[in-house]
């Protein structure tokens, strides 16, 4: 089983969610996070002039999928979040999960996904 953690822009959430659902990945969790990449931040307006914000609002999309499915899920996220703009499209982290348990039934691993 693989855990996919994708840091994405807020404006990409709806499209990613829709495409993941269509591909059969219904269960997911979204966190509101603040962070920055190598760009370092952006300028926002103050009363007279601007100020630098070095932590931006982003979303962390988290889902755990079967080993054989994860490349498909990752491809969907990349497809929906890629853009021509430079910077800020996000990153995807994939890691191996030892165990998954559904709390209601006690089912484990693939049966719990």
């Amino acid at each position: 089983m693989k855990k996919i953690e994708a840091i994405i822009k807020e404006e990409n959430l709806d499209a990613v969610k829709e495409s993941l659902t269509q591909a059969g990945f219904v269960g997911l969790t979204v966190y509101a996070v603040k962070g920055r990449g190598t760009g370092g931040g952006i300028q926002l307006e103050w009363r007279a002039g601007t100020y630098k914000v070095d932590l931006l609002n982003k979303l962390m999309l988290m889902l755990v999928v079967k080993e054989e499915d994860y490349q498909r899920a990752v491809d969907i996220i990349i497809r929906e979040c890629q853009s021509d703009h430079t910077g800020g499209a996000g990153k995807i982290f994939v890691s191996t999960v030892d165990e998954v348990i559904r709390i209601r039934t006690g089912e484990r691993n693939d049966a719990a996904l």
């Binding site: 300028q43 307006e45 103050w46 009363r47 007279a48 002039g49 601007t50 100020y51 630098k52 914000v53 070095d54």
Partner: protein
């Protein structure tokens, strides 16, 4: 007495009452989340303290029987003799106690305005002491000089319809003096200090604009054409100030909401001394110019690296100064026969008197505030320690959080 006048002055007093907590919301939106309650509380506590100060002795010092053109006497302590009969010197058609109530709201909002200078590190108990001392030693004498019967600036012929000099110059200059004494916020100029809620700042602006109709319109002290005129010029100047700020911001990058809110307030400040003496077109010029002036002085303050945190000096001090001078330029007896003609109508005298009253307000407020600030700072400290500042004043000073987590 006139029942219409009484009703209007009571409504106007209620409108102005709303403005002091509104200052708290206006400032509160601009600080970091950990200091939101503290910032709102600064203004709210002035509403409490100065209501009592005014009734006990503040009103008597400001408007009581004159002593040497400098200060009011103590005959009206505890509102003794301030009753239902009119005081014909101040307002002939309403109860004396209604005039007292109206003036109380002015005395309350003035120290609340100063609080923007030292948010996010002021020690709450020191702030309360500051407010009591400042109101008694700076506001009450200034109010007497310009508005009190026998006051020496009033005798010179200075015009201040609704408190541009008494309220905005004194508070703005006091803010600068306080910022020079109290230490800067930790990380000032180095770390980003993000506003926690621009909508809250805009909400405060809306309440201020609304309340200002009572502030300026009520200063006619009667339900008459002059009151209506003052409200019209007030509304016009606010719009001109907001639009000008929007244009300046847009030219540099984008038209921010916080900029437009600031522009509206600055326009309102500048028209305050002039609103009952100038026509609507002059009000547009006064409001628009005020925004350009305050914008410049915010940038200057930034360059000077002074942590006058929410620009009370640039917005109230400088726009108030412009408003007082503009009154000397644009005032017209054709608008208000009880006023005087300004420079534009060939009268140099009023212009010079306005300049003199500006200089007096600057020097008096700056010097006295510096002394009061130094005295408090040396005896008990104006600011909290750095740890309390890092934790935030909401928790360290009040034991509360604006938004509980989870």
């Amino acid at each position: 007495m006139n029942t219409g006048d009484i009703a209007w002055v009571l409504i106007a007093s209620s409108l102005i009452m709303l403005m002091t907590p509104a200052v708290g919301l206006f400032y509160g939106g601009m600080v970091r989340r950990k200091n939101l309650l503290s910032t709102i509380m600064l203004s709210f506590s002035v509403l409490i303290l100065i209501t009592l100060q005014w009734v006990l002795f503040g009103y008597s010092l400001s408007f009581g029987p004159d002593i040497g053109h400098i200060i009011g006497g103590l005959q009206w302590l505890g509102l003794k003799g301030v009753g239902w009969e009119p005081n014909t010197d101040y307002a002939a058609t309403i109860p004396h106690i209604a005039f007292m109530l109206f003036q109380m709201k002015f005395a309350i909002i003035t120290p609340a305005l100063i609080s923007g200078a030292f948010v996010e590190r002021i020690r709450f108990s020191s702030f309360l002491i500051f407010v009591l001392l400042w109101s008694t030693l700076v506001y009450d004498p200034m109010a007497h000089w310009i508005w009190g019967v026998g006051g020496w600036l009033k005798n010179l012929g200075a015009l201040d319809f609704a408190g541009g000099t008494v309220i905005h110059i004194t508070s703005g200059v006091a803010a600068l003096a306080m910022a020079l004494v109290i230490r800067k916020r930790k990380g000032f100029g180095k770390v980003t200090m993000e506003p926690n809620s621009i909508p809250l700042t805009l909400f405060g602006t809306i309440l201020l604009w609304f309340g200002w109709f009572g502030f300026n319109g009520g200063s006619a002290l009667a339900a008459n054409g002059l009151a209506v005129h003052a409200i019209v010029t007030t509304n016009v100047a606010a719009a001109a100030g907001a639009l000008t700020w929007m244009i300046i911001g847009w030219q540099k990058s984008r038209p921010s909401v916080i900029g437009v809110a600031t522009g509206a307030v600055v326009g309102l400040v500048a028209i305050t001394p002039a609103c009952g003496f100038v026509d609507a077109i002059s009000a547009i010029v006064i409001g628009a110019t005020a925004s350009a002036i305050s914008y410049f002085f915010i940038q200057l303050r930034n360059r000077l690296n002074i942590d006058e945190s929410l620009d009370v000096w640039a917005c109230h001090g400088m726009a108030g100064t412009w408003g007082a001078i503009a009154t000397g330029i644009f005032a017209s007896k054709a608008i208000n026969p009880a006023g005087a003609d300004g420079l534009l109508y060939g009268n140099v005298h009023l212009f010079l008197v306005q300049l003199a009253s500006v200089v007096v307000a600057w020097v008096f407020s700056f010097t006295m505030t510096l002394l009061i600030a130094k005295a408090i700072d040396m005896t008990r400290g104006l600011s909290v320690d750095e740890h309390a500042e890092e934790v935030g004043l909401d928790i360290s000073q009040h034991g509360e959080e604006a938004y509980a987590s989870i």
